[in-house]
């Protein structure tokens, strides 16, 4: 029963190698939440059906997210003795075709492949990790995501897993803290406090009962780094927690995770059970004097619980409201005992640091921000996904190099980092290095890693209103500046977006914003004004257009835009009339259609469905288009309207 770690590792390595050198073909499918959302399950079923039909025995493994969200569902097919081949954008039909073409007929289908991994190469297929999206990346926290079976602890151990814990157990707690300090690791939850120092405070705090908490309450909209890491490699995080607990002297730990992440919770439960079987959690871990127990606590849908004092109140079964500090959690945290809280990604880095050394980790990154950082790249960008890059990389390289730039030849307008607590940075800041200090100086924050790209069709006033409506709704109400200040700011933004803004509003927003920042109790309020402050700073002209001309230059703010059907272009085909959900369009066959502005809900459907070669629907702001009062016969030269059932844009 009680195996030594060397025995466990030998067993894990032989299992892994047997798999690597398997005589059977292997199929790895990305089945994290995002993969499943785009149909990974159906793709998997199609593959299984096809394999059954041909009586092919294959080893199928569901893996986590490799980070190329734009190409999901992704499948990796490994034929014995051949390089791995990744295929992307699969449908069930394509997947079953690939099984037939490649596994049976030996045609690797380069037209459908993304890339290969392995020593040899395949004609016309690039190397997977040389792809523009992957090449600049350095995967530390995400080192195993998408490559191993997250529900098999042996896969983790065979790839170096838990060797960091074993190393730590052979060191004194103080030397472990020194090692983490040497790595330069700072909190990846957003604030960037040096991790080693945080541990040291807690270690030195008097008391026999201490707690370690993993903050997995990833609440920022547009952020999914922590979910992906927990779904793809839960042991990396758990090993980090064990190391932290040993260094601090804690015997109990909690993982506070959003209930919205059922798959991550399941993976954690499976992982903990396997750790128990190997004696990696519980009493006398790996035969040492070190004991540590981990419990999972599910959040209940309150953004503010990402704040550490609120999180601890929530674990205690109370309303998740923050309290003033000091005392800091390191002095008096959970149930008044010294407590250390780190975020998922921080823990995932800790295990790598102890496995490979603090110096190795510190060799990546910039002067003040060492190591790597994960980002969830989303919005108006060609290649959305989950990435990990060395700190200090310029925004331009992330957005254009890794992300492939803006789709549809649109112009880049802004990148939003740090979620509702961060800010929007304009094109003039594209050469900003991504590190804690540079982002803060520019008015944004590193945050947990959300990175949403915006193009010319995004209204920055609307974006500011969007973020503020989020923080205002999530404000717990305990302190006045946050509770009332965000509400006042939101009211002003609502007015501006609906054309009721006043010239003095911008100054008032700035004044309120500075006060909310200075006077709020916790990080939620202290950062809530950032989206407003950065957009007024970098995009003041947009605010002024809304206020002074009742114009939304990006044509987003509903009250300030109108749709018109252009009489000289309308072919009278009737598609918009049929599709209009508000029944606001009148017309007839070969008659110029007209939108009744009083009925129009401005949903934009008419613009979406009007065939592009007619281009007869115009969206305008602050101008009027003259149209007839009622439908008149079409005057535009006749174009082929196509089939009458045609209802989508070509």
């Amino acid at each position: 029963m009680a195996m030594t770690f060397d025995e466990i590792r030998t067993q894990a390595v032989s299992e892994w190698e047997a798999l690597e050198h398997s005589e059977k073909p292997r199929i790895l499918i990305g089945a994290a939440t995002c993969g499943q959302a785009v149909g990974a399950t159906a793709v998997l079923e199609a593959i299984e059906t096809k394999l059954d039909q041909h009586n092919i025995e294959a080893i199928i493994t569901q893996v986590g997210c490799i980070g190329l969200c734009y190409a999901e569902p992704i499948v990796n097919i490994i034929k014995p003795g051949r390089p791995h081949i990744y295929y992307g954008n699969l449908t069930p039909e394509l997947a079953s075709q690939i099984v037939e073409d490649y596994l049976i007929n030996d045609d690797p289908r380069p037209d459908l492949a993304l890339g290969t991994v392995g020593d040899s190469s395949v004609k016309d297929i690039p190397k997977f990790f040389e792809l523009p999206m992957l090449k600049p990346q350095v995967r530390v926290a995400l080192r195993n995501c998408g490559l191993i079976d997250p529900e098999n602890i042996n896969h983790y151990i065979a790839n170096g897993g838990y060797s960091g814990l074993v190393r730590a157990l052979g060191m004194t707690p103080e030397t472990v803290i020194e090692e983490v300090k040497k790595s330069g690791l700072r909190g990846r939850g957003g604030a960037g406090f040096p991790t080693g120092l945080k541990w040291e405070f807690c270690r030195k705090s008097p008391g026999t009962v201490k707690y370690v908490i993993c903050n997995a309450d990833e609440g920022d909209p547009g952020a999914f780094m922590d979910r992906s890491l927990l779904e793809g490699d839960p042991h990396a995080v758990l090993e980090g927690m064990l190391i932290g607990a040993y260094a601090i002297g804690a015997t109990e730990g909690y993982i506070y995770i959003r209930a919205e992440y059922p798959l991550a919770i399941k993976r954690l439960k499976v992982a903990l059970k396997q750790m128990e079987e190997y004696g990696l959690v519980g009493d006398n871990i790996l035969g040492s004097d070190f004991s540590f127990h981990i419990k999972i606590k599910q959040g209940a849908g309150a953004f503010v619980c990402g704040e550490e004092t609120a999180l601890m109140a929530s674990i205690e079964g109370k309303r998740g409201m923050p309290r003033s500090r000091p005392p800091f959690p390191a002095q008096a945290g959970l149930w008044g005992k010294p407590t250390n809280i780190n975020n998922v990604e921080t823990w995932g880095n800790v295990s790598a640091i102890l496995q490979r050394g603090g110096d190795w980790y510190a060799s990546y990154g910039s002067e003040t921000s060492k190591g790597t950082k994960t980002f969830a790249l989303a919005g108006k960008i060609e290649r959305t996904g989950l990435i990990e890059v060395p700190m200090g990389m310029h925004l331009r390289e992330i957005i254009y190099g890794i992300g492939g730039g803006i789709p549809d030849d649109k112009r880049f307008k802004a990148v939003q980092t740090g979620g509702p607590s961060g800010g929007c940075l304009p094109a003039s800041h594209l050469d900003l290095p991504v590190d804690y200090e540079s982002l803060t100086q520019a008015g944004s924050i590193m945050g947990s890693g959300g990175m949403v790209v915006m193009d010319e069709d995004t209204c920055m006033v609307d974006v500011a209103r969007y973020f503020l409506s989020f923080t205002q709704a999530e404000s717990c109400g305990k302190c006045v500046p946050c509770r009332l200040g965000t509400k006042q700011m939101l009211d002003i933004l609502d007015n501006i977006c609906t054309g009721k803004g006043k010239p003095e509003d911008i100054d008032l927003l700035l004044e309120l914003g500075e006060q909310v920042k200075a006077g709020s109790l916790c990080g939620l309020g202290q950062t809530a004004p950032n989206p407003v402050l950065t957009t007024t700073r970098y995009f003041q002209d947009e605010y002024e257009a809304h206020i002074n001309k009742q114009q939304c230059p990006a044509l987003v703010c509903r009250e300030l835009i109108s749709y018109y059907i252009l009489p000289d272009k309308c072919q009278g085909c009737g598609i918009c009339l049929r599709e209009c959900p508000s029944e606001a369009i009148s017309g007839g066959k070969r008659m110029v259609h007209i939108i009744d502005q009083s009925k129009c809900s401005k949903c934009g459907t008419c613009l979406d469905v009007c065939p592009t070669r007619f281009g007869a629907v115009a969206k305008v702001s602050g101008e009027k288009v003259s149209v007839p009062k009622k439908p008149i016969p079409v005057t535009a030269p006749k174009l082929n309207t196509g089939t009458s059932s045609q209802s989508s844009k070509e």
Binding site: C34, V38, E72, Q298, A300, R319, A376, K380, V452, T605
Partner: protein
Amino acid sequence: MITLAEIDIKEQLNEILSHYSGRRDELIPILQGAQEQFGYLPLEVMLGIAKFLRLSESTVFGVATFYAQFKFVPSGKRTVKICRGTACHVRGAPRILDEVEKRLGIKPGGTTDDLEYSLETIACFGSCALAPVMVADDKVYGRMTPTKVGQILGDTK
């Protein structure tokens, strides 16, 4: 008079409570378990939980109403969720939400009178590559348009 339904609720609640020891920090897990069982938190369940944990009723309500997860009225048979994440927002989620609100005649958090549909908004599904995203009957629909809303709700109705 005690109805059969009330006895039933009591029994089911007791079964949930039997897994707990009565400590204060068990409140949220118990509320979560009860909501999973009943679909919402009926009044008698809330009172039963307060008694079990020896907390005041106002404390239990205070905690439960603080968290967005807990509901105090029954939900519809089908739930439509609209993602309001940043990526969805810049790709047109408000248009999708408007269309669903109009079709179902309810606002987020509401349920249709026939208890058929509930409408919710979610901060972020993390399926940002598919923005804007809508979930109906636990099926994820990506790259939504107002027209697709009609097709999907028409299908499920």
